[in-house]
């Protein structure tokens, strides 16, 4: 059944239909609607779950670690400063191999205070071993929460489902609610092999010297690489059951494209329109939307971008001193490859500045008209 709901609520409903059992969360703009709705859902019995209203984001994810460690499916959501405060516990969830799903509303980092979107908060967590999904629509937010649990609970790593502040979180649009019975079959109950259980007592996380820690970290990398196949598998299965297929990336009008625009989140969504308009002008351009940032889709990047003439990448983030983060990662995936295309890295939309269809068309046209990028970081739209 379809409803018109905002992105925040898509996150809450995603958690609801995934039958999460413990929620621990702390409010932060623009995520507050997520926790408010979940509080009502728990209160009126639509979801049989314990909701711990913790005193900080650090404690939110810590409480989730405790709950997940005893075998309960757990959920939390946060944004920007809250995600940064959780950083230590994201490492903890990964090291303890706890499949917690964390909704993150992309919001720029303060100071100065800002509540508008960019990707620096979530991307700052890229080295922790937590999976990262970037949604372009409220429908994808809801669908991805369910898929994230299915993947996480098999690889035993936490997942982050990311949506833009306001352009998704507070934007209402039509969302189809998957049938609960089908979701229950698609996503079986969480039943971990090892957990905190007095009947079979174990200690988790004891002091580990150089003779063992190296191997434990190797296994985490093994698991996150396995996640690539699982993400495609579960995305395909989701398509068969619910009619919407998902993968590591989304290809849009790329078949004969000489120039491919690489983008993510709502900028990628807007880019569909820019691509259509430029196609009408006879320009052979296509869009590659990166849906999963960790594990990074290097294989798809090589398969779909090698041999193209030009690549333009839009980053709504900046790794100070080096440039856009998607650009860096795409470059590194294409390195060591024969006929890897020239690549223009654009940084735009920082701090929630709107990125319009015109802006994206300008980016593509600039790329077409120049024979090579003048600089590593091509700022677009900043008043200099």
């Amino acid at each position: 059944m379809k409803q018109v709901i905002m992105g925040n609520h898509a996150l809450s409903y995603g958690a609801m239909i995934s039958r999460v059992q413990v929620i621990a969360a702390y409010p932060i703009t623009p995520q507050t609607k997520v926790v408010e709705l979940l509080s009502e859902i728990c209160a009126d019995g639509r979801l049989d779950a314990e909701f711990i209203k913790v005193e900080s984001e650090h404690s939110a994810l810590a409480a989730c670690c405790g709950a997940s460690a005893v075998g309960a499916r757990t959920f939390t959501a946060t944004s920007a400063q809250g995600l940064a405060l959780m950083h230590e516990m994201i490492h903890w969830a990964v090291g303890a191999r706890l499949p917690i799903v964390l909704g993150n509303i992309n919001r720029a980092m303060g100071p100065p205070w800002t509540i508008w979107t960019d990707q620096n908060d979530s991307l700052s967590e890229r080295d922790t071993g937590c999976l990262q999904f970037y949604a372009q629509s409220n429908q994808e937010v809801l669908d991805t929460v369910v898929q994230a649990y299915k993947v996480s609970e098999q690889v035993l790593l936490p997942s982050m489902v990311v949506l833009d502040a306001f352009t998704l979180s507070h934007t209402s649009e039509v969302v189809d609610f998957p049938d609960q019975k089908l979701v229950d079959e698609y996503l079986p109950p969480f039943n971990p092999k090892y957990k905190l259980d007095p009947k079979e007592p174990h200690t988790f996380g004891g002091l580990t010297g150089p003779d063992g820690y190296f191997e434990l970290r190797y296994k985490i990398e093994e698991a996150i690489q396995d996640a690539k196949g699982l993400i495609k598998e579960t995305g395909k299965e989701f398509g068969e059951v619910f009619g919407r297929e998902y993968g590591m990336v989304e290809k849009y009008r790329m078949d004969d494209a000489d120039l491919v625009l690489v983008a993510s989140s709502t900028i990628a969504s807007t880019a569909h329109v820019a691509i259509d308009e430029l196609r009408e002008e006879g320009k052979k351009v296509g869009l590659l939307r990166v849906r999963v940032f960790r594990p990074f889709p290097s294989e798809e990047i090589r398969e779909l971008l090698l041999g193209r003439k030009k690549i333009a990448i839009i980053d709504r983030n900046i790794s100070f001193g080096h440039g856009g983060i998607f650009a860096q990662e795409v470059k590194s995936a294409l390195f060591n490859c024969k006929d890897s295309p020239l690549l223009w890295g654009y940084v735009t939309g920082i701090g929630g500045r709107d990125v319009t269809v015109e802006d994206i068309k300008e980016i593509i046209n600039d790329t077409m008209q120049s024979d090579k990028p003048e600089k590593d970081i091509l700022w677009k739209g900043v008043r200099v």
Binding site: E50, A63, A69, A72, W92, P201, G205
Partner: protein, 301 residues
């Protein structure tokens, strides 16, 4: 032969504690009463190491090692998980040192206490950051040497009154105990086990390395801490009903406690007098709160 404490042992030999470590006895006594149906979560502290390296452990109950600030909130999470999974009978115990309780973990503890989450929080207090080599914490007493309060600048602030803070949260039960009196400590663990809501136990646990005391005198010091009123033993119910256990009528001079520890060797007479005054002052306040009229005096034989 009737034992004064339960015979079952849920802590095993081979653990890595120093010779004469009070903290191992605290755990041994607590688990004797808590029993097998218990889950521990332990933040950074001596016990993070005492339990032993991966893949070994010295306790017979599940133990979740966690980050320094999170003893209480991880316990809240464990409790919520167990409750939703229908395992409400399992004891959930946050087990932390003084640093993880008085300093870095106090926010999470206050959060759990304010929510009255059904957990037992036990702080074994050796009065400094011992696992990292004896740095001062807010549980370090006035006058003490630590590596961060050198003798010329010994700790000027008094020990933080954690029980007062927990009383202010109106939690159902808070109590202090001493590792020298396991019967009393175990009675309080049992009481905590049977109450719902947040229970806080604060047990003084001498540390030979950090207090610069003899390993064999750990129990002797834990007794002197009580008999000198340095560490009063009492209970607070719902933040208001005070009960003083082992009421001390005339206290042994606090010097007897201080003099057996190298961390106080530098104190001059006037420093010791100041400590004596504070110790007796606090204890008299406590007696008043417990409705006990007469005041304690210091034995001067």
């Amino acid at each position: 032969m009737k034992l004064s404490i339960p015979e079952q042992e849920l802590v095993m030999s081979g653990h890595l504690a120093c010779q004469g470590c009070g903290a191992t006895l605290c755990m041994r006594y607590a688990l004797k009463e808590l029993g097998q149906n218990t889950i521990l979560d332990i933040p950074a502290c001596c016990w993070s190491v005492i339990d032993g390296p991966f893949p070994h452990t010295s306790v017979k109950v599940p133990l979740f090692h966690t980050a320094f600030e999170t003893a209480a909130c991880v316990a809240s999470g464990i409790r919520a998980g167990l409750d939703i999974l229908g395992r409400k009978e399992t004891n959930v115990v946050a087990w932390a040192g003084d640093g993880g309780t008085f300093d870095i973990g106090i926010q999470a503890l206050s959060g759990a206490a304010e929510r009255n989450d059904n957990i037992i929080y036990i702080c074994y207090d050796n009065e400094a950051y011992m696992n990292t080599g004896i740095q001062r914490s807010s549980a370090t007493p006035y006058g003490a040497w630590t590596t961060t309060t050198p003798v010329k600048h010994f700790k000027k602030m008094p020990k933080k009154d954690m029980m007062g803070i927990m009383a202010a949260h109106r939690i159902p039960y808070a109590a202090t105990a001493s590792v020298a009196y396991p019967e009393d400590f175990i009675r309080k663990v049992k009481k905590a086990k049977e109450l719902k809501g947040t229970k806080f136990l604060h047990i003084i646990s001498p540390c030979p390395a950090g207090w610069k005391s003899l390993p064999e005198e750990t129990i002797k010091l834990a007794k002197l801490a009580v008999s000198t009123c340095y560490f009063p033993i009492y209970e607070i119910e719902n933040g208001e009903k005070y009960t003083v256990n082992k009421v001390i009528k005339n206290a042994r001079p606090v010097k007897e406690f201080l003099s057996r520890q190298g961390r106080f060797r530098h104190l001059r007479e006037e420093d010791i007098a100041k400590i004596q005054e504070n110790v007796i002052g606090f204890y008299n306040e406590l007696l008043k709160k417990a409705g006990i009229e007469e005041e304690v005096s210091v034995k001067t034989e």
